[in-house]
Symmetry: C2
Subunit: 405 residues, 2 copies
């Protein structure tokens, strides 16, 4: 997939693989992320240092991340350096050697990364919320795995995971910037032809990942005691699956609830009452599951008031919906954000890649803007009723064993 952006001098490339933590059995927990790390460590023709050097010396940005349903390796470089980025990525993804030494060194790095996440209250409460909402399903497990699973993973398991999951049928290469489609395709074909990777000419892209039936969130409260200064909480409800057509209405609803500084939550929790520095709402979407949630960090003395205000606002939205003014404001916010993002080659690259890997449709920007424009007050308010009358899931991390009051 490519998108030409005349007038820019850069190019963003992403290699997206349709594998993530939700594809892992309990004993493989963290394997997708572990593998993402190990692939930076060398091929028959490049050491780890070579890989780092080639993109560092042209000033490129180069990184990767693992999500629950996909893994992405990405770079942003000057247009003239795109062939280099394509070649390095093709080499890493098709031909990494994954030596025992690489696995052991990265095991130590990842154990430290897990400790870092354990020291980050946002990460801790996010993982706790996922665990409560999705239970023992793979969606409920942390992407990085656990100390136990990372200690137990063997090189053989990681190599097997690599060989079985990193197939061309399960990958999208997306490039946006000052590029020509035919040229990029030729470069990608060459770079990814190593080790017979593209030898099966009859291979066809895997269909978009599909769920059999929507998986609902588990409701209820969970409290984790940690010696933090703040209380961090996530309060949410069952949401929408990724392809749900109501996602545009949800965008407007989220803007009104907690999507910016003009939102109800920001105004009520922070501006009017000074209860918290950080308060916002968000939606997460997966193939067959989703959640809409509010995240707040506050002082322990404020948590009872914060929960009362947040629950009050969710109830008000369910009962009264949003106003015409909020509808227009939410649409403007989505529209402006979409158009501003068009100037960033990384945003465009992600958009076309996700369209291919996750949505199976690529609406034009005009079509997306039209879908936003077509959202009605009834759409939003029916959604608010449907969402916020549901039972809630609450995850709290703070310096106590149970919620005060």
């Amino acid at each position: 997939m490519t998108e030409a952006m005349p007038g820019v001098r850069s190019a963003s490339i992403g290699v997206w693989v349709g594998v993530g933590s939700r594809d892992e059995s309990p004993s493989l927990s963290g394997a997708s992320h572990f593998l993402e790390h190990v692939l930076f460590r060398g091929t028959p023709t490049r050491t780890a240092l070579d890989i780092s050097v080639e993109l560092d010396e042209v000033g490129g940005e180069f990184n990767a991340f693992t999500a629950k349903e996909y893994t992405c390796f990405h770079a942003r470089v000057l247009d003239e350096d795109l062939p280099l980025a394509v070649d390095v990525l093709g080499d890493m993804l098709t031909s990494s050697t994954v030596t025992a030494e690489d696995v052991e060194a990265e095991r130590e790095v990842i154990l430290d990364e897990i400790a870092m996440h354990d020291d980050d209250p946002d990460d801790v409460v996010g993982n706790l919320y996922s665990e409560k909402a999705w239970g023992t399903s793979p969606l409920g497990r942390p992407i990085a795995g656990t100390v136990d699973s990372i200690r137990s993973l063997t090189r053989a398991q990681i190599v097997r995971y690599y060989r079985s999951r990193y197939s061309p049928e399960n990958m999208v290469v997306a490039v946006a910037g000052n590029v020509d489609h035919t040229t990029v395709v030729r470069q990608v074909r060459t770079a990814f032809s190593r080790a017979g990777f593209l030898a099966d000419r009859s291979a066809r892209p895997l269909p978009v990942r599909r769920g059999h039936r929507a998986r609902r969130t588990t409701t209820g409260d969970v409290v984790m005691s940690r010696p933090f200064e703040q209380v961090n909480l996530v309060l949410g409800v069952n949401g929408l699956v990724r392809t749900d057509e109501r996602r545009y209405a949800l965008g407007v609803l989220n803007a009104a609830l907690g999507g910016g500084t003009s939102s109800r939550l920001f105004q009520e929790v922070r501006e009017a009452r000074g209860l918290a520095y950080s308060v916002y709402s968000y939606a997460s979407h997966y193939t067959d599951a989703g959640t809409v949630a509010v995240a707040v960090g506050c002082l322990p003395s404020k948590v009872t008031d914060v929960l009362a205000v947040v629950r009050g606002e969710l109830g008000r939205l369910a009962d009264g919906g949003i106003s015409e003014v909020e509808l227009q404001r939410g649409k403007g916010q989505l529209r402006g954000g979409l158009v501003l993002a068009l100037e960033d080659s990384g945003s465009r690259m992600s958009r076309i890649a996700k369209a291919e890997l996750l949505y199976d449709e690529l609406p034009s920007i005009d079509e997306v803007l039209r879908r936003v424009q077509d959202v009605t007050l009834d759409d939003v308010n029916a959604l608010a009723r449907g969402l916020f009358r549901q039972q809630q899931t609450l995850a709290v991390v703070g310096p106590f064993d149970a919620l005060p009051g």
Copy 2:
């Protein structure tokens, strides 16, 4: 200051005020940042909600930050919305009402923000390093202030700080994007003419802030006990003042030491030994002071090894300097990063604003690239010797009372 970027549809605007935490007496600690918060809360013609709504509903990004030597209010919007952003910023900066109610509500928000920083190991060790390095001078105090200073600040103190520091002589308005200089100047003049703000036609811009003599870092070790999973440490030496011509050589030196994944520290600490997930070096510059430092987060069992490796690399650099290969790689990294940043209107806006407020010169990009190109191996290696043979400052935060071993 404006910079036209034909071909983009956006504009970034920043209002930079030459005031920050280093201008505060101990009893005013946190006043610059407190004031930055309060200015979002309303003017005679706009409530806090109005301010939020106007930029949210066009999808703009709108925020502010306070540093030790300056405060910046910034927005990124579609070009057609720039007049709106100029008007909102002009109103806030010249005409905020700063009511007692605003001050009390923001006091609560900032106390929560301080608690959030206290839960962030990077922030904790960064503040501890500043305190050790700069002692009881204002540079050594946290930008947000302390719980005690924030509790004690009065509305009268904040209003006085606002009136005395937020004068036109002490501000730069910078805009980059699809803009026309004359038009922007007219809009800014109108928006900032409220309340007689521009009435003194004889006023001239304040000269760039100057130090009398360079202030050196205090050396030695400090350990803070916190119940974190990781140890976070910053190890640094006295560095360069902001306008030091050797800053280009320092850019190359920093790239080789810990500026990317090909750097010595990343390769030795993470790739070769798996000792830490996050390791990097950085330079901080102030008018009359500066530091070059290494930051690492690692498991407690690894801290002795991490310190030995980092100190070993600093010693090797002091004794042997960098190689010709590292020199060229570092220059490439700086050059690529500079050119890639040109596509972002926010980066361009910051560059021209800082030139006016902090440097008193605005070299063209070609001139900056030339200065980077002119850096020699001797420049870098003389700097490495001068920097890394100095006594060090070490700040450590971890789950112990003293460093192990």
